[in-house]
Subunit: 432 residues, 2 copies
């Protein structure tokens, strides 16, 4: 059974609930939107990730006795009683997982009473802010790797549970494999790995270590060749494993220079099919710089799991409309020059002309033109989770969404979002 | 029951285990060290955090049937059989949680067979790299806040489980409270919070919202006063709650200017004890900039949970010594100009002269002078966890360790580590 997720939230969600239950506002129908006011500086697009995990977590968002015990003293008895029966019974729509997003894209739309929808704020933001940050970084890396496989190996550089989510996010954004075994367990992410320097060092010699590895893991394994002398290690590796050795791994030094030297040496030894994998402090820029080097795979760690400089997306979860005393839904928004938001329920579509995305359309009406592909899909209907899908569907959706973007999306240079966000009022909406 | 932590690890730890079991090297006694080669650029000291969580996780690091099922196909049957009985039976020493650290400080020392110690690598690194990054950022923030309470509220900006660990790390580094309810549940971290803009917006007017909040949460509550007009909100807040209103919160705008205006207004209204809490995109620099403003508390979110620009510590876990065929422990190290490490078992102490830390001593011998305070304490003895302690002990240890640092530790300017790390060979060691 999944552990309750209900306390993975902020104290103030509960005190607001208490005060709103007392005032009656708790029962007003509300619409909350999860969106980003901007992309991380210089980024051309963002990637939506976390949907699958959010839906899993939503199913476990119930206040069990443990949770109620913790809240005794945080909120009053009336609120505790209400929480004991809590189960989200509203509706959620969202961008398909793996889809790209832009400033003001309504990535998630939650409709329910104030009480039931406000409680989800922190948890939903945590999931989307983290997973989308990693997926957004991962997507740039896989784009610039141009088909060479990227291997996620950042688990040790981030919280142990964030590591699992990062492996999942990287996979949906095009990474080939992950080092993380829990991601294999929970999400079926293909895992891979062979050995580290400690394995060489625990043996009496590099030769002993290579022999032990090849004997146990087969000639298709990847030998780590930079513990002592790279050229010597490559020579000995091929002597021990034969020319069928799967790959060698370089984890330090000038990777471009080393990769060329090693390729030459491997070829001279007849090991034409032995691949070269590099793994030292890579990010999208380092990957781009290695485009001309004879590299067959990139292992990416720290920079991937920390979102390559942007470890969080800046998604916010804002009340954009609520019921009034007459039962009508009225738009609401905070008055602020920096932190304002556009009130009212929104729908979104991507305008695609000749197979190429040209605009993100955020509209107050749910009608779109023929060349506008609607982006919101139902995730939860009256509390029932309907949006669950296999991770590979998100992976394919992501690949398709990125293919559709203008070529500038592939640029590593800082710039504006690769397509503009068009805001359309209900009156100005285009009929289908 | 705690969920198994055994798959929160990298695939290659398991393949190394398989190959080492086959070669026999798996049974060699080994010493692994967890340390950082350097501090994040410009930082004066780091803070050790994660010890308590690591020990919790270690107790749950067992391969249950689920885990073994996942590994079927990753490793061979002999390895699966070995894993089924796995339980770490070695020794672990570590810096006390909350202690400060410097480049090459042996923050954790793990002694056991290669097999049992290598398996812990990824999990231990995840915990310490994350928690220490947050604690290191938090410590700078609490130092510069100079006694004004700091409130951790970054849960929504990081992975939902990382959020809980971040709240714990922030608390041990001196934060007063956290918004995170799971941290309250699991670690007894004091939680706090009152309301957000959505609470104001769901009511028909700010007046209605304030009335509802004060009626339900009491006059000691904190009113959020920047949804519409700050001056008006402050006036109405005091009218509604009376001069006993606990606090007002500012979450946008020029906080220094606003805080002065609000203080003047509160005083003019007679609300001399009503505090002012600010919460918009703060970090240690923003806190420092507000030192002269009439602010009574800082809420810190994004920048705290992302380590204020350094979301991971760069801790590595290196094999530094292993048994040879004659049963002697021999030092080992990778040969690398950038990624080298110093072989051999190390001990550490802080030299403190006249109550002031002057050096971090990393020695190959475990004897220290009288003015050198040993830093390693036993955490695990022959597999038994002996280092568990209440979180408040770590919190007090942190406060004491920081008090002892040179005043330059309080500088927000980038610089070198505030004390040097002295390496001492066994021969050059000082007798006590």
């Amino acid at each position: 059974m999944t552990r309750s997720t209900a306390l993975l939230t902020d104290h103030y969600e509960l005190t607001m609930l208490q005060a709103a239950l007392a005032s009656g506002a708790a029962h007003r129908r509300c619409i909350f939107e999860l969106f980003a006011r901007r992309l991380p500086e210089g980024r051309r697009y963002g990637v939506v990730a976390g949907t699958g995990r959010a839906l899993e977590g939503l199913a476990a968002f119930r206040f069990d006795d443990d949770a109620l015990g913790v809240l005794d003293g945080v909120v009053d008895d009336a609120t505790l009683a209400w929480l004991a029966d809590y189960r989200f019974a509203g509706d959620v729509w969202g961008y398909g997982e793996g889809e790209v997003y832009f400033p003001d894209s309504p990535v998630l739309v939650v409709e329910g009473t104030f009480a039931e929808a406000v409680l989800l704020e922190t948890f939903l933001l945590s999931v989307f802010n983290h997973d989308s940050a990693v997926a957004s970084a991962a997507s740039r890396m896989t784009l610039v790797a141009e088909g060479r496989p990227c291997i996620e190996m950042g688990s040790r550089r981030t919280h142990e549970e964030a590591a699992v989510a990062a492996a999942r996010a990287a996979y949906l954004a095009g990474f080939a494999t992950s080092s993380n075994l829990a991601a294999r367990q929970r999400y079926g992410v293909p895992s891979a790995g062979t050995s580290a320097h400690a394995f060489t060092l625990v043996h009496d010699s590099e030769d002993d270590a290579f022999r032990a590895q090849v004997a146990s893991l087969g000639t298709g394994t990847t030998l780590l060749v930079d513990t002592y002398d790279v050229a010597e290690a490559v020579r000995r590796g091929i002597e021990i494993a034969g020319t069928g050795l799967g790959a060698v791994r370089l984890d330090s030094g000038d990777l471009g220079v080393l990769a060329r030297d090693v390729r030459r040496e491997l070829d001279a030894l007849g090991a034409h099919d032995t691949r070269i994998v590099v793994t030292s402090d890579l990010d999208e820029y380092a990957i781009a710089a290695l485009a001309a080097a004879p590299v067959d795979g990139y292992g990416v760690g720290t920079r991937l799991v920390t979102g390559s400089g942007h470890p969080t997306c800046g998604f916010v979860y804002k009340l954009v409309a609520r019921e009034d005393d007459d039962g009508r839904l009225v738009p609401v928004a905070k008055r602020s020059p920096q932190k304002g938001s556009v009130g009212g329920r929104k729908w979104a579509a991507r305008r695609v002309v000749g197979g190429r995305a040209v605009a993100e359309v955020v509209s107050h009406a749910d009608t779109f033109a023929e060349d506008e592909r609607p982006l919101l899909r139902p995730l939860v209907r009256a509390g029932e989770i309907v949006g669950t899908e296999p991770l590979d569907v998100a992976r394919e959706r992501h690949a398709a969404a990125v293919r559709e973007l203008p070529v500038a999306a592939r640029s590593m240079a800082r710039g504006e979002p690769v397509i503009p966000t068009e805001h359309r009022t209900a009156r100005g909406s285009v009929a289908p």
